[in-house]
Structures are given as C-alpha cells and as structure tokens.
C-alpha cells in the first residue's frame, strides 16, 4: 500500500530579495513509497533534496503539486512525518534521556511513561549506560544514534533521514548502516533516506531514486534486487558493482556539468 506519494511537486524561490524572478528548485517531482519500505534518494549537491524534505516535513509549502499521505492530502503536513536533519541537534542542556523523549514530551505523553518507553530502547540503540550523560560527552556515532532514537520515539509512521551518517568516519558509518538495517527490520517503519553515497543507498534500500539538479527532478528509479538481510559482503558482488556504476553515471555527468557551469560563470 502506498504510504507517501508526491505528484508533480515543484518549488521555486525568489531569486533575490528585490527581483520578481523566481528560481526553480524542484520541478515535477513524482515519488512513491510503500508502507514499510526503505527508499533512498541520491543526487548531486544542490539538487533540491533539502527542499523536497522540507516540503515533506511540512516546513515549507510547495509552489505546485501535492503530497499524499495514505492516499489523502492532509491540510497540514507538519507533525505527520518524522524528520531527522543532518545535524544531530541534540540539546546540550538536556541529558541523553531527556533529549530522546523530546517528541513524546511535546505530544503530552506523561513523563514517566515517556521515560519508560525510551529506556526500553536504549540497549537497542547502543546507548545503555549513557542515559544521564550530557550529549557533549558522547561520540559522534552515539550522538547520531541518540538523534535517531529521538526520531523513532516521536512515533511517526514515515521517517525522513537526511544524510544521518554523513559526518561519521568510514568505519563508524559502516557499523551504523548495519545497525540501522537491524532496527528497521525489527520495526518496518517507512523510511526515506537521503545520501550522496550510492553504495550506502543500495546497501540499505529496497529502491533508490536518483535526482538530477537545477531544478531538481527524479531522473531514475531502480529496484535493488538483493535479498534481505543484507550483508556487507554483497557490496563486492558483481551485480552490486554494476548497479552502483549505473547509478553513479548520471551523478558524474551532473557533477561535471556543474563544474563546467561554475567555470563558465567565473
């Protein structure tokens, strides 16, 4: 069943504060995610991924097109979709426990109940023993897991994850990918994942969308044929490598075009 769908989504921003000209950031974006599906979007920087996410999260309104949740267009998207931005955005003045219960607290869940639900999840998120610590005392990977736990506990059925592992070193990142798959397999929440790492996208997802930039469009959508549970060994499988090459090709072209544009402008 389709959980989240966009039809002909477009967004244009004013070019400058005074001019009436508008620069398109997204144009005719069609996207479809089934219930419990893990879908990734890859694209060059500046392809409008953030704009798309902000629209889906309900933070900005599209200039055209519509967003459907469970087949209906809600009058207000804000608050329906879990949103985890690139930065962990943990509040340094709250303990890890009080950070992850933020969503529950804001939806008026009693404190005791919120804490009980959160504490249950700490071992699974690799945060056992760090409940009363300050975020400033955590490592990058742990901060990211805490941010994910905060998103999970907010209890939205669809979660947008914007390059959650982008700032981590390669080894931590790989461990986090494996861990995320385990967590996802247990809960089967609907996840829309943005990354510019093609390998990460294939390894994690059921389907991968490739976006092209300026204005942002859906360029390609591929099914990932590998069975689950995925193993890290699959990443060296010839079929995996071939798929990676196929997805990388349009991204390379876009990056080259961008570079040429910049040189021409300079």
């Amino acid at each position: 069943m389709t959980k989240l769908e966009t039809r002909g989504l477009s967004k244009a921003f004013p070019a400058g504060s005074s001019s009436r000209e508008r620069v398109p950031a997204l144009e005719g974006v069609d996207l479809e995610i089934s219930d419990g599906e893990f879908v990734s979007i890859v694209g060059p920087s500046g392809c409008g991924k953030s704009t798309l996410f902000n629209i889906l999260a309900g933070l900005i309104r599209p200039s055209g097109g519509e967003v459907l949740l469970d087949g209906r267009a809600p009058d207000q998207l804000l608050g329906h979709i879990g949103y985890m931005p690139q930065k962990d955005l943990l509040m340094p003045w709250r303990t890890v426990l009080d950070n992850v219960t933020l969503g529950l607290e804001l939806s008026k869940v009693p404190r005791r109940e919120a804490r009980r639900r959160a504490l249950e999840q700490f071992p699974r998120f690799g945060l056992r023993g760090f409940e009363r610590r300050w975020p400033g005392e955590l490592s990058g990977g742990m901060r990211q897991r805490a941010a994910l736990l905060r998103t999970f506990l907010a209890g939205r059925e669809v979660m947008l994850l914007d390059e959650p592992f982008g700032a981590l070193d390669a080894l931590t990142r790989q461990a986090m990918q494996e861990w995320l798959l385990q967590v996802w397999q247990a809960d089967r929440k609907t996840i829309l994942f943005v990354t510019h790492d093609v390998e990460e996208a294939i390894y994690l997802s059921d389907r991968v969308y490739v976006m092209s930039g300026r204005p942002g469009r859906m360029h390609l959508c591929v099914e990932v044929p590998f069975p689950r549970p995925r193993t890290f060994a699959m990443t060296s499988d010839p079929e995996f490598v071939a798929l990676k090459a196929r997805l990388l090709e349009p991204l390379h072209a876009a990056a080259a075009r961008q570079l040429a544009e910049q040189e021409a402008a300079a």
Binding site: P85, L89, P92, R94, F130, A167, M176
Partner: protein, 291 residues
C-alpha cells in the same frame, strides 16, 4: 563581550570513555589547589614587592602606604568599614537585581520581535553613550538621597552587558533546531521555553558576570553624587582628610565585595548549568564497539 558557548559541533575520532581512575575527592582538591594557588602566590609576590619598594624609596604614607599599614587600618577601622560596607552591599544587591530585571526584560522582546528590535535596540545602545557621570546628579535631584538614586545608577550601568549578551544568546538558537521542534508540533512559546531560552543561558551568565563587576563601580559612583553613608561616601570623606591608608583599606573592602558578587554568580552558574561545565571539562567519550 559575548562568548560562544555550546560545545561539540564536530567531534574528533571516537575514543573510549575514561573511567574514574583516581578517587574523586582527591582529584577535586587537587584541581581546586591548582586553581587557587597560582593567583594567591602572585598576590603575595605583588604585595611583598610593594612593601619592599615603599621601604626602599621612602615614599610618604600619605602618598602610598605599605600593605602592612593598609592591613593594620583594615583591622583598626573594621567596625566603620563594616557599617558602611553593609550600606553599599544593600545598594549593590538591589541595584543588580534591578539591572537583571531591566536587562532580561529588554532582551526577550528585542530578541523575539523584529519591530521592537528595530524600535528599541538603537536607543538601548545610545543610552550607553550618555555619560552616567553627567546624569547621576539629575537622578539625585529627582529621587533624593535615599536608596533609589543608587539603585537607578547601578541598574543603568549594569543592565547593558546583561541585555546585549542575552539578546545574542536568544538569537543563537540553531534555525534547524527550530525546524525540528516545529515538525514535532511545538508552537512558538514552546520553542522559546524548550530551546531558545535554555540556549541563551551561558550568554546570560556572561552578561551577569560583567554586570556584577560594573555594579560596584555604579554604587561608588552613586554615593559620590549624593549619600551620607556607604563605602563610596567614606572614600570621599577620607579623601578630604588625606587619610590615604584608610582609603586603601576601603578600596580593599570594595574590591572584596565585587569579587564576592562575581564568585556568587559563578557558583550559581555552575549549579544551574551543569551541562555547560561538565561537558567542557570531560570533553568527548563514548564507545563504538557495541554498535
């Protein structure tokens, strides 16, 4: 004047948390010693040098008394100093609280409303360009010789750093955090309470510390313009009598009041913002192995 607090944007590579290797008590007393000993030794060094200098050059006591003479005066004048110190302390406390109320009371609307910011902020800055020295006598004419003019002068001198730091702090909230809170359903007032205000706290305390130092200056000044007791008044009287040694003793007491107020504010900060101090002290830790 504004410090940039909030630590931990980017963290270096993962490290294992450091276990408490030494008994916490001994570590704490050693840390305390390492903080108190250097300034104490430095003070002793300066005092000894001063004493030796006065001995060697034979400067008159009415020009520059020796530290031992000042110490003696502190003891001899103790009841006079205490009576007047109490007056000044009361003025400072009331004036400082007024400065906090004024500073925060201006900062919150300025930081949250663009209209108020445009209308009020330039005038707040301009108010600091008016020499308090010049308007203090007018305040005395308006309000008389009681506590009121002192409170007003102290508040006018100290509110500014409190207001400016608090405004900067309230504006330091990451817009992405604001967005995150919006997606979690938080309305404006909730966002202020849960994010904007706590994020401004380290800034507010920076302002409070600067304000504490300024409040002593404000009190002395207010007493110079019109008072019948207090340490500032005492300095004027002693000055007329060329009682230099007693003036020095009075200045020592005034400084102690300032240092005391600063220390109290710092102690409150430590208790109120444990996250700010703990995180800065321990740096990062964490263990990836369990992932």
């Amino acid at each position: 004047m504004s410090t940039a607090p909030i630590t931990g944007e980017t963290r270096p590579a993962e490290t294992t948390p450091t276990p408490q290797s030494k008994p916490a008590g001994r570590r704490r007393s050693r840390r305390l010693a390492s903080r108190i000993l250097p300034p104490l030794l430095f003070a002793i060094f300066v005092l000894v040098a001063w004493q030796l200098l006065v001995n060697a050059t034979g400067i008159k006591e009415s020009s520059l008394p020796k530290p031992t003479q000042v110490g003696h005066a502190l003891w001899i004048d103790r009841s006079l100093l205490w009576t007047n110190a109490w007056v000044t302390i009361k003025e400072i406390l009331v004036g400082y609280l007024a400065a906090i109320a004024l500073g925060v009371g201006l900062a919150v609307p300025i930081a949250t409303s663009r209209v108020i910011d445009r209308a009020v902020y330039p005038w707040m800055v301009a108010s600091q360009m008016v020499p308090i020295v010049a308007i203090a006598p007018i305040i005395v004419i308006w309000t008389g010789f009681d506590l009121r003019p002192k409170v007003i002068v102290i508040a006018l001198v100290s509110f500014f750093p409190i207001a400016v730091n608090t405004i900067d702090g309230l504006r330091s909230t990451d817009p992405e955090l604001t967005n995150l809170l919006r997606t979690l359903g938080a309305k404006r007032w909730t966002r202020f309470r849960k994010a904007q205000w706590p994020a401004a706290m380290p800034f507010l305390f920076s302002g409070l510390k600067v304000g504490a130092a300024l409040s002593v200056i404000g009190a002395v000044f207010a007493e110079w313009v019109g008072a019948s007791d207090g340490l500032g008044y005492l300095i004027l009287t002693l000055n007329n009598q060329t009682a230099t040694t007693d003036m020095f003793a009075t200045i020592v007491v005034l400084s102690l009041i300032g240092v005391g107020l600063f220390a109290i504010v710092s102690a409150i900060e430590r208790v109120a913002l444990p996250w700010y101090h703990d995180a800065r002290r321990t740096g990062d830790g964490g263990d990836e192995a369990e992932a």
